[in-house]
Symmetry: C2
DNA sequence: CATTATTGGAGAGTGCTACTCTCCAATGTC
DNA sequence: GACATTGGAGAGTAGCACTCTCCAATAATG
């Protein structure tokens, strides 16, 4: 398959594919001459994967590159890989975590300890920053609310890991990419459920504007 | 309070505040002369709110403007307001929902019907697009997995609505902004819980990289 | 075999967003 | 009275994700 066929199969312009090649998001094709190379199905998959992560999950290309390189490295254990891919993700989102006061930090530590979670510094920092920002914005997240969010997260996480067999080969990709792509799904479902919960509570209007 | 004091209180540069004023994200101050105006605490809150929505929730300024104008309008019912604010949100994220085949559409319709949710076209379209993209990327979301996500969403949504009293005044702001800001919280918690679930399953490595 | 199309590669250019800078005369402060 | 600050508006900037242009070297086609 030449580059134009790859473009046709994926619906991505040739120029964009060249750009992805340059940026290292896509491995080079097998060169057949000095100015020609052929691409395989794995290239088609890669392009689709990149597009899904940028368009659906809203990742930057830099974050996509980090996730892909974590997935491409020989994964020691699923746990390590998950952690590596998550760091790529969190690092992307954490532009300016800034300083966090002790009270928020303690809340996060308490939550992590209570749940028996692994004390990941990057995740904890990001969470603390988010809670601080919410408070500053005048919408503090109460302990009860946070506990429900944590319950929901654990519920989802168990299902995330259960979707995949114990086979290590493709499992990491399945979990990491699947999670990335279903984060926005969860957000949309939350909106659906909120509308219903709101309607039930208010008994008011019949439909959205 | 003059503009420089507003800048000091919020930590946002004067130039940026001027920009927000121009863009209509911040109402003008009370003019005290032809070249001077004073700002109040509500301006401080607004600036912090804008920053939280852009930095934490990752909204574009255009989306922030939509959300704010929905919140500023006299809310007829909480339900309508929720809907309006959600449209602003979904519209921002849905760059290219594109075409969705019937199979995915039917899955979404079935889910919405089964849960008794209000059939919001924008939300349904976005959800269908997300499921399609996940499938294209080689990480399809199974019905069981989707059901768990929906369970979690309903769990969270009930808590979201419960955090707020029935008083209508500030309730909408509380729910809408609170949801926007806790979307990323839920994502981070999911990562925490995944690490734990993964470690428990694998019994493997001790920590993230 | 001649012509036309396509290729990989690299550099420059584009459109968009969210600022950030510069300038100005009018005010405010010391 | 001297100097700093203000609101306002326009222009400039940085980063991102492409997109376009060009090129000589191939490939495909008649």
């Amino acid at each position: 398959m030449r580059i134009s066929a790859l473009a046709d199969r994926t619906g991505v312009p040739v120029a964009t594919i060249k750009y992805y090649l340059r940026e290292g998001l896509l491995p080079p094709g097998e060169p057949t001459s000095r100015t020609q190379a052929t691409y395989g199905d794995e290239h088609v998959d890669r392009v689709r994967l990149v597009r899904a992560m940028t368009e659906s999950a809203g990742l930057s290309l830099a974050a996509v590159r980090d996730v892909l390189s974590a997935l491409d490295d020989p994964p020691r254990s699923r746990h390590d890989l998950l952690g590596a891919a998550q760091h790529a993700l969190v690092a992307d989102e954490a532009r300016s975590d800034g300083e966090v006061d002790d009270a928020v930090r303690r809340r996060v530590d308490a939550l992590v300890a209570a749940r028996g979670w692994y004390d990941d510094a990057a995740l904890a920092g990001r969470l603390a920053a988010l809670l601080r920002d919410a408070e500053r914005a005048g919408v503090p997240v109460g302990d009860e609310h946070l506990a429900v969010l944590a319950d929901a997260a654990e519920l989802v996480a168990r299902a995330d890991l259960a979707t995949v067999p114990d086979a290590p080969a493709d499992a990491a990709r399945q979990v990491v990419v699947g999670t990335l792509l279903t984060d926005p799904v969860l957000v949309v479902l939350r909106r659906f459920a909120q509308q219903q919960a709101s309607a039930r509570r208010a008994g008011g209007g019949q439909g959205a504007v």
